[in-house]
Point group: C2
Chain length 193, copies 2
C-alpha cells in the first residue's frame, strides 16, 4: 500500500486500539485479488480471525471540460451483473508505477483524452474492513481529444454529461459507483457547483 499523509496519526490511540498479527495464511493468489486469512490479537488479549484482500491499488480521473462537461463511461461489471456509469479508472500496472502516470495512462487508454492540468482529489479506502485497496482520485482539466487505446477485450461506451447532471444522479441514486460518487461530489465542491 502506498504511503499517504495521515493527518490524524496518534500513537496512543493506535496502541490502544490496534490488533497485532498472530498468524497469517495465504488462501488464494489471483490475478487481481490476494486473499489472506489472518489471526490477530485484540486489545483485550483475545484472538480473532481477519479475512482480507490485498490489492495493488487503483486510480480514477474525473475529466472536466471548460464548459463543465464530464467524460464518463458505461461499463458492465460482472460481480453486480449491471452496466453502470463510472469515471475513467483502472488498477496500477505495478507496485511502483507512479500514481499520476497511471491516471494519465488510464484516461488516455479508455477515452483518448490527455490533459494540461491535474488536481489530486485525495484517496479513499473502498472497504477498509477487509481490503487494503486505495483509490486515488484526480480531476483533469485542459482536455485534448485523441484516439482511444482500449484493450481488445475491454468493452465500454464513453459519453459526455454535464457535471451538474452527474451531481443530480449521485444525489438521486442513479450513480452507484463509489469512486464516481466521491469524485463527482468533490469536483462539484471545488468548482463551487
Amino acid at each position: 500500500m502506498r504511503e499517504y499523509d495521515d493527518k490524524s496519526y496518534n500513537k496512543d490511540e493506535y496502541s490502544r486500539l490496534c490488533e497485532r498479527q498472530a498468524a497469517s495464511e495465504d488462501i488464494f493468489r489471483g490475478r487481481i485479488l490476494h486473499l489472506k486469512d489472518d489471526t490477530v490479537i485484540l486489545p483485550n488479549g483475545k484472538s480473532a480471525s481477519r479475512e482480507l484482500i490485498r490489492h495493488i491499488g487503483a486510480v480514477c480521473v474525473i475529466p472536466v471540460t471548460e464548459d463543465g462537461m464530464v467524460y464518463v463511461e458505461r461499463q458492465y461489471r460482472y460481480p453486480i451483473d449491471r452496466v453502470i456509469t463510472e469515471i475513467p479508472a483502472g488498477k496500477l500496472d505495478s507496485e511502483d508505477e507512479d500514481i499520476l502516470e497511471a491516471a494519465k495512462r488510464e484516461l488516455r487508454e479508455e477515452t483518448g483524452l490527455s490533459a494540461d492540468e491535474w488536481t489530486c482529489l485525495g484517496l479513499f479506502f473502498p472497504a477498509a474492513a477487509y481490503c487494503d485497496e486505495t483509490i486515488t482520485m484526480y480531476m483533469a482539466r485542459g482536455l485534448h481529444e485523441g484516439a482511444q487505446e482500449l484493450d481488445p477485450d475491454e468493452f465500454l461506451d464513453v459519453k459526455k454529461v454535464p457535471l451538474s447532471t452527474l451531481v443530480e444522479e449521485v444525489m438521486n441514486g442513479s450513480i452507484t459507483d463509489a469512486k464516481t460518487q466521491c469524485a463527482v461530489l468533490k469536483a462539484a465542491r471545488l468548482l463551487k457547483l
Copy 2:
C-alpha cells in the same frame, strides 16, 4: 444482492456489453468473504476469468444533531493497519434483514443513539469490479443518546465533530474511508452546508 432502483436500465446496452457466465468456481467461503473464480464469455466471444467476492452487504449512518454535530468513530482497521475516522456502520446480520432496521441496530450498538428521523442517502458499490457488496447510507436526525451495546471484542472511540469540520477533512484528505466521504458530502449538500 438487494434490489435497487436502477434508473438507467437499458436492455440494448446491457446485451451489447454484458459478460455471460461460462463456469463458476468457489475458492473460499469465509465468515465475511466468499471468493469465486468465474469464467465469462466476453461480448467478442472470447473467454476471460473474473475473480470476485460475494458479500452480504452493509449499512452506514451519518447521525447529525440539530446544531450540526456528527457522531463519528475512530476505529482500527487491520487490512490497512491504521485507526481511521468512520461513521457508524456494519454488515447485515442476514440476507433478509431489513436494511433500515440494520442501520438502526448498528447506530444503537456502536453509539447508543436512536433517532426520530431517517433519510436514505442511497447506496453505492464500493468495488463493483470485483465485489457485489452494497453499502446503503442513511442520515439520522432527531437523535436521543442511550447506552452503547458494543460487542466485547469490538473496540472503537465515539466522538462528536461538526459536520463542517468533516467536510473539510474529506476535502483535505484526512478522512479516507469511502462510505464516510460519500455520506458526509451527500449530507452536506442536502443540508446546504
